[in-house]
Symmetry: C2
Subunit: 341 residues, 2 copies
């Protein structure tokens, strides 16, 4: 059965680890031949991005490339969303087919995989202004709301890779959105932790954290705040210069963000990324948005936020073996240095 | 209190994430100044390793460098174990001191951090023979048994980083051992999974997997086997060319491995690493050993094994956000290609 699915359609698969229950994606759609893995992948920097870069020049007349276009006026577009050309999650049917192989279990990797592209080939988030970053958040929200009620979608991951070492394979600044059928182990771990904390303390664990960071801790880990958002280096930072951006008020659902909050969030995100850019001389980094699942249940105890992870270290055997990260800089020191930028 | 510990002794800390309960190590002992993170770290390849490489020339007369020496005869040593010069876990006292900061919790990062060095500067595991690899396993076992009953030690991590992109900061082939006070989230996830499986199925989940791989699955993911060990690409591979090496019989405790089994394990590990070396043209990789904790409890349902992860991809925003890895090659194809090497 599983063989049939694969051979017929070359659709990607989610496979479950028999021991831990964790999922992996086997994305055959983007697959290389085995011998091609020996070559290292370099980002090809186009010499003439205006004509060569696929994100500078999405084929305008292909509906695939018109999921969302902002300021679509005589080639004056400022942001657009397109389908990922090599999706890890395939748009096919509504509910994923399951399969078994001996003791193992898997399912079709059904979902949506989109790319959010800002217009300028060279201007990264560090160099944008808060209104331009708010426009990116507009697009995140708009695509989120469009996909959240799809039958195959239980969680929507939104993330941004900058620089080759962070996994970005195209230089042109872009974010990605994956709408997927499963709730991931990391998100589940946060949801469980927040639920447990709420049960014993009758309060949100993130609100507790923010209250401490902005009060008792005397803002020693805070790098920026405005009326609605705060950017800080978390107490248990996994890497040097890790920064979280969170709404000050208790907000479980990113998709309910208001226009004013988007400008505040855009400012906090831009300042945080801009400070990392200056402090570390344009390092590779990833950020991602963690919010409540869209699986039809309520998550009143959760608190959406963005986590920014600069690539200041390589996760080696110890980290891969344990899930315990080793950071070589105290977040208090990192925050002090970021505040100075 | 926490400030005092840090300022006085510059000891490393374990800090707990308030939401997930996960631990991170803030290893101040190895710390750089904040502005130094902007420079990328290159492995310095010594021009004359015989005189310049610290692992070719550990100062013989320093007791720090004589934790274990094999064939210690007129500079003819073949393997030695030394303390890591920049330990992530400090040898200090017996039980770690705990501290609180507001809602947060942490403890001193107490433990042992050792380096296992084979003699030759250039010969990596791919180029050794099975008896030489068995000698490495001898050292793993000998150090394990020496540390397992220490009061501050509840788990012993043994791992090997090869190549700069895998996190190796010194070229000379070496493994590392960290004896730590906590059981890591990844190991705990495997222990919980194995215990649950045993409760419902009255059998070991790893034995079930191996029986399928060697039987019903017609060895399509197996790349090597001998009497005692099997090397195979796991069904839910996280990266292309991931390989696990496991004892065929049910064995919860690595430290009880016999002399004969060490030669068999050495052969399986060498063949697996050697095939990865040939297939991917000497790629960076990590491997680590997962075995039962040494916390005084019994783990009859667990099954020790080694997991080898070549760096065939970069974990980007999606993987960091979710813990779901995307692999672009089916393990069945990877195994076929590895068998051909």
């Amino acid at each position: 059965m599983e063989e049939n699915i694969k051979k017929q359609s070359k659709i990607s698969e989610l496979r479950q680890d028999l021991v831990t229950g964790d999922w992996v994606v086997i994305a055959t759609g983007r697959s290389k031949r085995p011998k091609e893995f020996a070559k290292s992948e370099e980002i090809k920097e186009p010499e003439n991005p205006e004509t060569e870069c696929p994100f500078c020049n999405p084929a305008e007349n292909e509906p695939e490339n018109r999921l969302l276009v902002y300021n679509d006026n005589q080639d004056e577009w400022t942001l657009r969303v397109i389908h990922n050309k090599y999706p890890a999650f395939d748009r096919k049917g509504e509910a994923p087919q399951h399969f078994e192989e001996g003791p193992y279990f898997g399912m079709e990797s059904i979902g949506y995989h989109e790319v959010i592209i800002t217009r300028d080939h060279r201007n990264q988030i560090a160099n944008l202004n808060k209104v331009e970053v708010a426009e990116i958040l507009d697009a995140y929200q708009e695509r989120y709301v469009d996909l959240m009620n799809k039958k195959s979608v239980n969680y929507i991951e939104i993330f941004h890779n900058h620089g080759r070492e962070s996994g970005a394979s195209i230089v042109h600044p872009h974010s990605q959105l994956m709408a997927i059928p499963v709730i991931s182990p990391y998100v589940k771990s946060e949801l469980d932790g927040a639920e447990n904390y709420h049960r014993t303390s009758q309060t949100c664990v993130y609100c507790t954290m923010l209250e401490w960071e902005l009060g008792g801790a005397k803002k020693k880990r805070v790098i920026f705040e405005n009326d609605d958002f705060v950017a800080f280096c978390p107490f248990a930072s996994r890497v040097a210069f890790e920064v979280w951006v969170a709404p000050k008020k208790h907000k479980p659902y990113f998709e309910r963000i208001t226009r004013e909050e988007k400008v505040s969030a855009g400012e906090a995100l831009q300042v945080a990324v801009g400070k990392i850019y200056k402090a570390l001389n344009n390092p590779p980094y990833n950020f991602y948005l963690h919010t409540s699942p869209c699986d039809g249940r309520d998550y009143p105890y959760y608190h959406w936020h963005i986590e920014i992870l600069p690539r200041t270290s390589v996760w080696a055997g110890f980290e891969l073996s344990t899930g315990i990260e080793i950071s070589t800089l105290e977040p208090e020191e990192a925050a002090e240095f970021l505040r100075e930028q």
